[in-house]
């Protein structure tokens, strides 16, 4: 009898009523899956190339894009695409000139300030701002799922085309240059790739928390394995686990999904980190 009670509670918790029949939860799960997988693909190169800064700042530029779109009353996707792709190109140009410090920081502040201005002008206070910065699952509409899928497919296609040259230029730059790989073009295309991922992450987990989804799973996976394919597979699994669990918990509690997603991702990282530390300690003791 007691056992049944526990099982019932567990069942209610893992499969709360309405989880699978609510349309927006389906939308959220489909979008979350696409976002987690593409973020892993691109995050692999973000970690490998050490451009975490770009991953940190592009979503903030995207925030200004969506806010601007609400003022001009165009679809958010248009604002996101314009600002993220342009922002990515500008950032890759700035970093090539070795100017990522003050100018970039101030440019970012300008983008955030512009977002603030747009929100004020559009009189879209409070909740809209919150949704843009920290994500919102309730609001994901059917067309938005289609858009995410389309952007996800484009991102994956571009990633597949770029995979070999990008890996080559990242791992063995001099050799790649000698073989005639066009570095500047690759840099720009990679910035576009990161921009495309941010287009998808901003509506789901928000401008301020997309960074963790892009970096976290790959960083965790590369603590365990050094092989590229294994890293990608493990990171994909970790990212999916994080976003699925976060959506479930958000549905259960009504709390924001971004909070759960970042917490789970950071927990995954910490657990693996501590596990590895214990393992090396034990190996040294023997």
């Amino acid at each position: 009898m007691h056992m049944m009670g526990v099982l019932d509670t567990l069942h209610l918790w893992l499969l709360p009523s309405g989880l699978l029949t609510t349309l927006y939860m389906w939308h959220a799960y489909v979008c979350g899956t696409i976002v987690a997988l593409t973020a892993t693909l691109v995050g692999y190169f973000v970690v490998l190339r050490g451009v975490a800064f770009m991953a940190h700042s592009l979503p903030k530029i995207g925030f200004a894009g969506v806010a601007g779109a609400t003022v001009l009353q165009v679809p958010p996707l248009v604002g996101l695409l314009t600002f993220n792709l342009l922002g990515g190109l500008v950032m890759s140009t700035l970093s090539r000139r070795g100017r990522r410090d003050v100018v970039t920081a101030l440019t970012l502040v300008l983008a955030l300030g512009a977002g603030e201005l747009f929100l004020t002008l559009g009189q879209a206070y409070g909740e809209t701002a919150y949704a843009l910065l920290f994500g919102q699952i309730v609001g994901i509409s059917g067309p938005q799922v289609g858009q995410t899928l389309a952007v996800g497919l484009v991102t994956t296609g571009l990633w597949m085309i770029l995979y070999r040259p990008l890996l080559f230029v990242t791992v063995a730059r001099d050799q790649a240059l000698a073989r005639g790989v066009r570095e500047r073009l690759l840099d720009n295309l990679f910035a576009i790739l990161v921009g495309l991922v941010c287009v998808m992450t901003v509506p789901v987990v928000g401008a301020l928390l997309g960074f963790s989804l892009l970096i976290g799973p790959v960083a965790t996976a590369s603590l365990v394995t050094r092989r590229g394919v294994h890293t990608l597979l493990l990171a994909g699994a970790l990212g999916l686990a994080a976003i699925w669990l976060a959506l479930l918990l958000a549905y259960d509690s009504g709390w924001p999904v971004g909070f759960f997603a970042t917490t789970i991702i950071v927990l995954e990282y910490k657990v693996v980190y501590i596990g590895r530390w214990v393992k090396t300690r034990r190996a040294l003791a023997i």
């Binding site: 410090d101 201005l117 701002a129 919150y130 301020l208 963790s212 759960f260």
Partner: protein, 296 residues
């Protein structure tokens, strides 16, 4: 003359909110400008990011317990500063682990902000924590803010020379018998106050403008550190007053007639000052080159 008269007798000067806004932005601006020069020298701009982001989490929590948000900023900022001191040299901007911990705090802040809207039914908490709200700030904050800013300036003045030597060359400072660790600790304290004051004035997301903008401009223009600090403080005060003035004037600006956000205006002015400083530096170098040619 007519304009001057209108300026002096403008209702701008009779509004207590305006005076509070002026005091808050000026004190936050001056202390950030002075501390900022050392931040630039020590290359610690990423630390400022950490301090304000974690501070924002504290501010979001403070609304939950209806405490003044400034205490939230300051207490969490002190925690973050202590954490960075404890980790020492391991905190690096490129470090993925640091970025992840940071986004964990942002996530926690998201939760607090969400709960704030549930508890207090004020949806604008998000905007005021992240983007600042000098016109609607709690008037009780102002004396505290001015007091801590003044105390911080005194501390920086007291340790000015050892701090300068430590910032330029820590090993040399050690060899000269300067207690590098204590100087670093005091500076971290000053850094926390500057970052959190400017986070309160500008909002957590835009506070970088005050921390980096004037200092970077000052360092670009001046060759001596003392002059750089002076110019930096002057630029910060200019931006603060101009920003508050424009924000006040903007209530009937197109397109909406709803007023432009003050922190946005200050950030824009600071950016322009930075660009102007770059131009001034280049122009001066050009003049000097011309002068050099004439001499030889």
């Amino acid at each position: 003359m007519m304009y001057l008269d209108a300026f002096v007798h403008s209702p701008f000067w009779h509004s207590p909110q305006v005076w509070h806004a002026l005091f808050i932005t000026t004190s936050a601006g001056v202390v950030s400008a002075v501390v900022g020069v050392f931040i630039v020298l020590r290359g610690q701009s990423f630390a400022g990011h950490i301090l304000t982001d974690v501070g924002a989490t504290g501010a979001s929590a403070s609304f939950l317990f209806s405490i003044n948000s400034w205490y939230g900023f300051l207490s969490f900022g002190l925690l973050a500063g202590a954490g960075m001191e404890a980790l020492g040299k391991r905190t690096r901007g490129r470090d993925t682990a640091t970025g992840l911990v940071l986004s964990f705090f942002m996530g926690l802040g998201a939760l607090f902000l969400f709960l704030d809207t549930r508890v207090s039914n004020t949806a604008d908490v998000t905007m005021s924590v992240l983007f600042g709200s000098v016109f609607t700030a709690d008037p009780n904050t102002t004396p505290w803010l001015i007091g801590t800013s003044a105390a911080t300036l005194l501390v920086v003045a007291a340790i000015y020379r050892p701090l300068l030597i430590c910032s330029i060359d820590a090993e040399w400072a050690q060899a000269r018998g300067i207690p590098v660790r204590w100087v670093g600790l005091l500076f971290m304290l000053a850094f926390v106050v500057a970052a959190e004051d400017s986070a309160l004035a500008m909002g957590a997301l835009l506070s970088t403008a005050f921390l980096m903008g004037p200092a970077a401009a000052g360092v670009r223009i001046a060759h001596r550190i003392g002059a750089a600090i002076g110019i930096s403080a002057l630029l910060a005060v200019m931006a603060a007053w101009l920003g508050v003035g424009l924000a006040y004037a903007s209530y009937n600006w197109p397109p909406a007639g709803r007023g432009y956000p003050c922190s946005f205006l200050i950030a824009d002015i600071l950016f322009m000052e930075y660009l102007g400083a770059g131009m001034a530096a280049r122009w001066r170098a050009h003049i000097r080159r011309l002068g050099g040619k004439r001499c030889t």
